[in-house]
Symmetry: C2
Subunit: 210 residues, 2 copies
């Protein structure tokens, strides 16, 4: 199955475009957050939020009081974009500088998840996405908390990935310039856990956080 | 001066909202890329791109062949969102899990930069933003390359920052639960430079990359 449509087709540098699940899903799953674009009063609004994927469905969630989230099911279309930065590409010419990255652009309609089972499973999916094992350890939501949470599902049907990897591509004549060229990699790193000031000393760090 | 307007006012958790340059500009300057929201045929499109700020102007740039960039000056409004992830907040309850983050949402109109001096300076600003010192070392753009580049300026007038820091905020009754709680910090780290395979051994890493 291909997610390629007229809207998702990568026009600039088409060799960087990908439309298959095997490329797109790992990018979605690696990212800790996404950016959601919504039209509000004829003006685009872009908000960062947490997401998670289960099979061919993307879930985003937030407060039931969020104006933007509430507006999603009323809108025709939303766009969810996920970007992973892998490095700065230093070419010999300023013009050919670039980033190495993996990004996914998803177009779709957002549906409010009303079914309580699906809502519960979606929240577990988001939790498992952030930190596997945490859902079973933390106190799980009560009805009041479930009601205070809005979950939106987006069926994954129309998406593209755009990927750049590797060294710079300079103009042939520029390769003789005495300018350092290559890639400065960037990665997201976990730091040392910071215990809550109110955490009793008797509570150890659980295995899933080590 | 405040960037607070009806559109940028943070409604959810208003204590996290900020509208002053001293808060907003460092977030813009720390981020290596942003997400730009544009309405295209009544559908929002969100694209990641490189940005840089000079005084009260934000610049984004890309290929002159980019359909989305070309459409920006024709649109009424765009939204540029910048997000820095600082950590995962592990509360005792699943419901109070959160992220520590610093984000900025900018609303404005995009103007095509036609003035050749401003265009040149904007590209230098973007280069300096990514890697200070690189512009002077790399081969600078020729006219053909300038013509192949589109630069968009956005006047910074309407923006908000949203910031979450610190430990989880649990329900008072949950503090007695035997669940580890705190923050798992995340940071973006530079890796080891990867030289271009075609780089002569005689070219050393310049000081500005060390």
């Amino acid at each position: 199955m291909s997610f390629k449509t007229d809207r998702t087709r990568v026009r600039r540098l088409p060799q960087r475009g990908h439309y298959d699940k095997n490329t797109i899903y790992p990018i979605i799953d690696e990212a800790l957050y996404c950016h959601v674009g919504i039209n509000v009063n004829d003006s685009p609004a872009v908000i960062p939020t947490i997401h998670a994927r289960k099979n061919d469905t993307l879930y985003i969630h937030g407060s039931a009081a969020s104006r933007l989230l509430k507006s999603i099911p009323k809108e025709n279309n939303i766009c969810v974009t996920i970007t992973l930065l892998d490095g700065i590409v230093l070419a010999r010419s300023a013009f050919h500088h670039s980033l190495n990255y993996r990004s996914v652009v998803i177009f779709g309609k957002g549906d409010l998840v009303n079914d309580q089972n699906e809502k519960w499973n979606a929240l577990k999916t988001v939790s498992d996405h952030l930190i596997p094992g945490r859902w079973e350890d933390a106190r799980q939501p009560n009805q009041k908390e479930l009601d205070a949470t809005t979950v939106i599902s987006i069926s994954l049907k129309e998406a593209s990935a755009k990927i750049r990897t590797g060294p710079p591509s300079d103009e042939e004549v520029d390769y003789q310039l005495p300018v350092w060229a290559g890639v400065l990699p960037y990665t997201i790193k976990k730091g040392e856990l910071i215990p809550d000031p109110r955490l009793p000393k008797s509570i150890n760090i659980p295995d899933y956080l080590i």
